[in-house]
Symmetry: D3
Subunit: 291 residues, 6 copies
């Protein structure tokens, strides 16, 4: 039948190794694979650990039982994360010899990550407090923890950033921040450095680039871009990777909706950057910029 | 083993009551809990009731059977919503004595909400009509109902606003509008007041604040902010909550992409606010503002 | 009981045929129905076919087995797509006589679409390459394929555009691009024409209108609008549909974040449109526009 | 690699058309297929219709709402059953021209089946009563309806028998009784004829053959066989199908555990057949047989 | 259309209150309901608690983590069981005033049941040992725990019996043993009393009646019936419920396949009852009965 | 609160290492584990391979596409089976050093098993034919393949037996036959040897012991036991394992319902063993035994 010949010939073309080229990925049989679904579960476990009683299927946490719940969730996290970190190690073509040593390395890395959880939660508590203090519409912490997209983006970023520092394949943290990006429209690169008491309001459209540095007690509104100004290329016209190209935001800065700050410029502490402004130069401490 | 000691010590730290602090939530055993998943089902039931035959697993609705489908869906909605409203009542620490009376109160509130459904659907039909009239790309109502993010944001807002007016814990309506925000990038606070024939085009990045008032026949494009200008603080430098701080948009106003209107200003009826404009003062009726 | 009377009376009102009006859809019993869930599966199958080994539950693809996987996935795609195309044909009230002929037409259309898959994959490989070349943060193709929202929006657009050209009910391609819109905040109308080597960075807030034409090697940043300037109405004040009203972007153009280009204007090749600019007139080739 | 060559060569052998022979089934693309899962849902819907409030996800049935629930469930049943009856019609190789007429025939048959539901429920109410009266351990009807395997086997049989009488492909009713067989160990052929007030106790191991006739008010215990004695073959030594070869059990008979009754014999009314007995001849009314 | 009229008229008949009669169950809105699915989860939790590391999704149990897993599982069990016990209390029409007191009673009962878990596990360890000692095909305990239907029937029985003793609505334990009956063909009434070191081999077809008493170290093979001989009726010909009508099996008895023991007879300790035998009288200790 | 103290104390008792004893299983972190769910999927894949077009989610198999489907299913089977075989190797405490070598051994074993699939299918085709020839109620092969429990038990047995011969941990094949036992009430030990053209009718209650040998063209009815007569014990009164203790059934034997054959006796070819008979001695060829 005509339809079917059409299909068979397409299958042949689509299976052609040359035509597939670099769009296909050849896994070793049985090796684990970076999985968006598994990473979502890992993030969910982190939520259940950071905010016990708010998240997790165990909504009956109390002081008597919290240790059981945290224990089980941390252990699940350790196992799932070990596997995904190992999958990340196996993913790159350079590491074509996936095996026992990498697996142990991944387990050690997952264990180290678990060790950073108490510290991450401590910072997140400052973020929640900052969001609450700055939003007249926020009724209590619970509302922020359960419903604020800004916090969601920050949580995923802090998890991803910690994994990046521990040496995970950058794909893993990137997939974690992209999940938050998809849900919130807030795009924070895992490589950015962000201090305590960080607040985001509304948030849709925010972009925070890879080499951005943000101090303590900074607040961003929707549509803010902390981006790069240009991408220097080498003599072969290939973009040079890894250059410090995003802004430095010092402590106690507020950046209003739609502001665009580009390049390795420094916004001095206690500045206010007005909505829809366009900043490509350093600003001294205490500046106030408006359109 | 090293990894495991690491994990055990993290569990101990993370279970520490002081360290968890206000990031945990202590439920009474067996009490219901505000559930994002349940609220999604509630919204889905509203869709099946508002747009029978378009949504719901019963895509065989016709004039003979519509009463069966509406009947079953309304009843499911009533049961699920009663539980979530009750969960909202139990959620705040002030209401630590969850019980029978609150449960009956929640059921009465859910019943009242059901009573508002015919009215909400009537308004939604004006919204659909407004979107259709204003979009050259829209082929028919079905396309708008099935595929337009703007309508999705409006539907969730109208549900959430109605629940807020009935006295639900504000967390519940907020979670409902945040669901639409996550899916569409359109952030409408449940507290806003919005008239009939309301249209949103594209929509990503729209922010409509808590005390905004929008008249009839208003249209917004993507990236429009109807926000607050400043947050007055009291003598202790704590932001004063509840102030009327967002714009009033009168009837027959169009606001193009990226426009920013801040503060308790009034945009007079039949005005056109151009793309990327910045408005912080009242505009008389019939104004036309552009960059 | 009071609650229940309330509910019963609401059911009666909501089931009233007149009140439901055009918000309901009356399906023939047993006819298929355009299904967001099914369309998601269709898109997932396309991903598994375009990027074998990266997507699909068969993560063990290699040169020996690729033909099995492609074969099974193409066949599933053909069956599911036939059904959804047929559902689209049955959807409009004009086509109230759903039946065998339309079903065969739908199967032929699905078969034609399968025939376009190799070509779509070839173009997508240029898109991936363009994204990689232009992003200093991209480590390898895998990261782009697995984690970049810009690519996701492009893939869904290219699928949807191909279906539109083959004559599918426009609702179907629209639902496909809206899925990407919801996940990425990037809103590309299926009717737009977009050339090879197309790159999007970050992307949240991008809007590309129905009659836009984009050449080869074009790059867009977040918040770019390629929109219509006005909607001419006829003597009855009804918007005229189908007018060419969106920009033409020639080859090798870069448009930075937040730029707004409105109306049927032409941006000449090798131009650079700066961030937050506002363009409503033609630009000659090689232009550089900034605020 | 050795393992893989092994696999590839097995795939080749297993795909060989001759070797597959009659163990494969060649479906028309897109035609429905008799589905165990769908038949389970059909049976579940029958349960929700026969025993409202006991089964179905709508456990809030009351006199106000019962009509909604019955209405929705009957309609779902009609749609699903139409499809499965149609699938049955398409299944046999004789019917290689599946299409519109058969589909309408299937819908008419499903509609007829729906018409028999009130009658089936009426008979089932006599079965429930009979089980209750005869079991000292039964506390109330609810226990029987929710937990007694005997009733489950009877319900599935009565559904299957009704479908067989309406002319469904015998595969469909057979799959329905086999589901009960698997769950209960009670094997009733859909072709058997069974009167009102039928009771089964424990039930595991019961076999009731295709041409069995059972009167009213009969009770069977576990392990009872109502079977055939011999299978006459024709001159080619091929078993002759369709011969009346199973027992006739008249009204008010009790058959105790493990009794075996073989062949077209008649057990006269008001008889008692003792446990582990072996009966291959007619028994007059009022007989009492024991080991 | 003819089909549809048929359906509507069936709906009307089926919704008729009189015709539904005692086959329907009228729940209070929102009250919990005895749920087979929930009871399955409760049994699964018991398995995870009795045999940690063999069952549960937490297959990484070790001496460090066992307390976390047991803790979480016991708590989940407590919550789910409280609800089901409460549902059982509300189920019977006599208890039409479901409410707070019953809920607390149910929680207390669930808590008491939890207190019996260590004892049940201790007895189950004797059952596992008995099965292992008596089966030449058993390789180790793990095989018995994971794959032996006899053990499954015993576990469900011991759970159900304990609930019955605590005063649960008999429907709940009955549903639990019926689950095992359906999976294994072994039908043990929750009311039976069974001692330690109880072994079942193969098991299909076993029936153990409500008032049976079984001593320690008893072994049963498939098809054994421990049943009632007759059901005395009162003057109104209604069966008298609650009479002691099943056998007493003393310690160290083996009963081979297909044996049938009926009535309140006593099988003396250390007896062997041969396969397919028929026993309706007392047997002295040390008896050996064969066909 | 009283309930909770109760729970906490039970948790402590249940977590006690000594009390758990041999009822717990201590897995290495991350090692795979014999999983009933995974084994079910493995059996389902075998069904899709043996009976293409009857089973599998790909019900559109035809001569053009069969190779794709077989290819994908065989590969999935290989991967899943490798993991479960490896899990079996790791399961026994003796093999406490799970690792790379065992993993490769498991993969080689899975590959060998795949190599036996064509042969198994060939034998199964004889079984289907035998069932069809012997059952007057069977309309066609499809009915047998889709609905006959006897075939289901045979398929699982033939898979399990093949795995046992290849040296799998006996737990794995045992779990596979137990699945069929649970669904059909037919209990065939994986160790039995069964020839071609094997037919089972009804089947509930059949037991076929570990060392049974069955020739070609044998038919069994429900309730047949091929069991052991006694279990000789050694001087310590421990049952000696591995003794040949079950019957040998030669070619062309029919065994009717409820027959019991015990011990290492030989039933000569072309014999007929009548229903409910009891056989513990050799029978010469051509025997006919009845009660």
């Amino acid at each position: 039948m005509g339809n079917f010949e059409n299909i068979n010939s397409a299958v042949k073309l689509l299976s052609d190794q040359v035509s597939v080229g670099s769009l296909s990925h050849c896994n070793q049989k049985g090796d684990p694979y970076p999985s968006g679904e598994e990473l979502s579960k890992i993030v969910d476990l982190c939520y259940a650990i950071f905010f016990p009683g708010f998240f997790g299927d165990n909504t009956s946490v109390n002081s008597d039982t919290i240790q059981y719940h945290i224990g089980v969730n941390v252990e699940k996290l350790y196992i799932k994360l070990s596997e995904q970190l190992y999958a990340g190690m196996c993913f790159d073509s350079e590491n074509d010899k996936c095996g026992g040593d990498l697996k142990q390395e991944a387990q050690a890395m997952a264990s180290e990550f678990v060790g950073t959880l108490p510290g991450i939660r401590e910072i997140l508590s400052t973020d929640v407090e900052a969001i609450f203090r700055g939003d007249p519409a926020a009724k209590n912490y619970g509302e922020i923890i359960l419903a604020y997209p800004g916090l969601k983006a920050i949580v995923n970023y802090r998890i991803a950033h910690s994994l990046l520092l521990l040496g995970a394949n950058p794909l893993i943290p990137r997939m974690i921040t992209e999940k938050a990006h998809s849900l919130t429209g807030i795009d924070i690169h895992p490589g950015a450095t962000i201090g305590r008491y960080f607040a985001i309001d509304h948030g849709t459209g925010i972009v925070i680039g890879e080499t951005t540095i943000i101090g303590e007690n900074v607040k961003l509104y929707q549509g803010v871009t902390l981006g790069a100004r240009s991408f220097p290329a080498d003599e072969n016209n290939i973009i040079i990777k890894g250059i410090l190209r995003h802004p430095i935001i010092e402590d106690n800065v507020v950046i209003y909706a739609g502001a665009t700050i580009l390049g390795r410029v420094t916004i001095g502490h206690d500045s206010v950057v007005g909505a829809n402004t366009w900043v490509t130069t350093d600003l001294p401490a205490g500046s106030k910029v408006t359109i």
